[in-house]
Symmetry: C2
Subunit: 132 residues, 2 copies
Amino acid sequence: MKLITRYTDYSIRALIFIARKKGEIITASDLVENLKIPRPFLRRLLQILNKEKILKSYKGKGGGFRLLRAPDKIYIVDLIKIFQGPLRLNECIFKKNICPNIKVCRFKNRLDKIEKNVILELKPITISSLLN
Amino acid sequence: MKLITRYTDYSIRALIFIARKKGEIITASDLVENLKIPRPFLRRLLQILNKEKILKSYKGKGGGFRLLRAPDKIYIVDLIKIFQGPLRLNECIFKKNICPNIKVCRFKNRLDKIEKNVILELKPITISSLLN
DNA sequence: ACAAATGATACTATAATGGTATCATTATAT
DNA sequence: ATATAATGATACCATTATAGTATCATTTGT
């Protein structure tokens, strides 16, 4: 029951590293050396961040990655969504229309409240808010 | 990233059902019929609850299960612990002594706070508080 | 003795996560 | 042009957690 998978965790570390280098183009190799993330895994992750327009990639010699958005516009919840899908801690095992007491189920209501609070606390966290 | 697995979820439903029957001995069959939980799965789960002293089982004809504790002494977090292990949303991928910046890692600090809040909200929930 | 219950335990299936490997493509410097 | 250093695309594999099944043994009331 982890909130954050390695994809998300690694990508946060990578983005923080890149953000600290303000504008420099950072290669996968730079990140491997500094963050000890397995190379092929990191490469995949960077490609995803590129596709999702979090990073911009530069191909060819001298290439690498740069942030596409300002660090205060990169929200952790976006990363979670990219790598882990919609943030949902709580899903009724009976899908909507089968569970007989969906409206009454007090447990589900409690979990919904907890989920909302988690989201509320995660929402404001950006890469820039983690920089130091 | 689910807070609650089926084991936990099913066992909550089962315990609520049993609790409502105040003191009656409830068989696995009763629960299967009423809660639509797959029989072998439910049976395993009841055996676990028996071992963990949440339920008391009665073997042989006329047997079944009864609550061993009062419903207000059965905490959801106990069930989570039984079926899912310690409630931990947040574990550094670098175990304690490897991550260079464990004390400074602001992200981990944030997650710790969120985790604490989740636990705080889950802690008071008992079977009796879900009885309606 | 029989039937109706649980106890014990081993097995299987599926999906998510974590990680690897390979080849193609692009861009720069010489 | 060509070699080199970078990313792009993709397919594959391993491990673990979750979900679920199957089987036989044991106990107990009638």
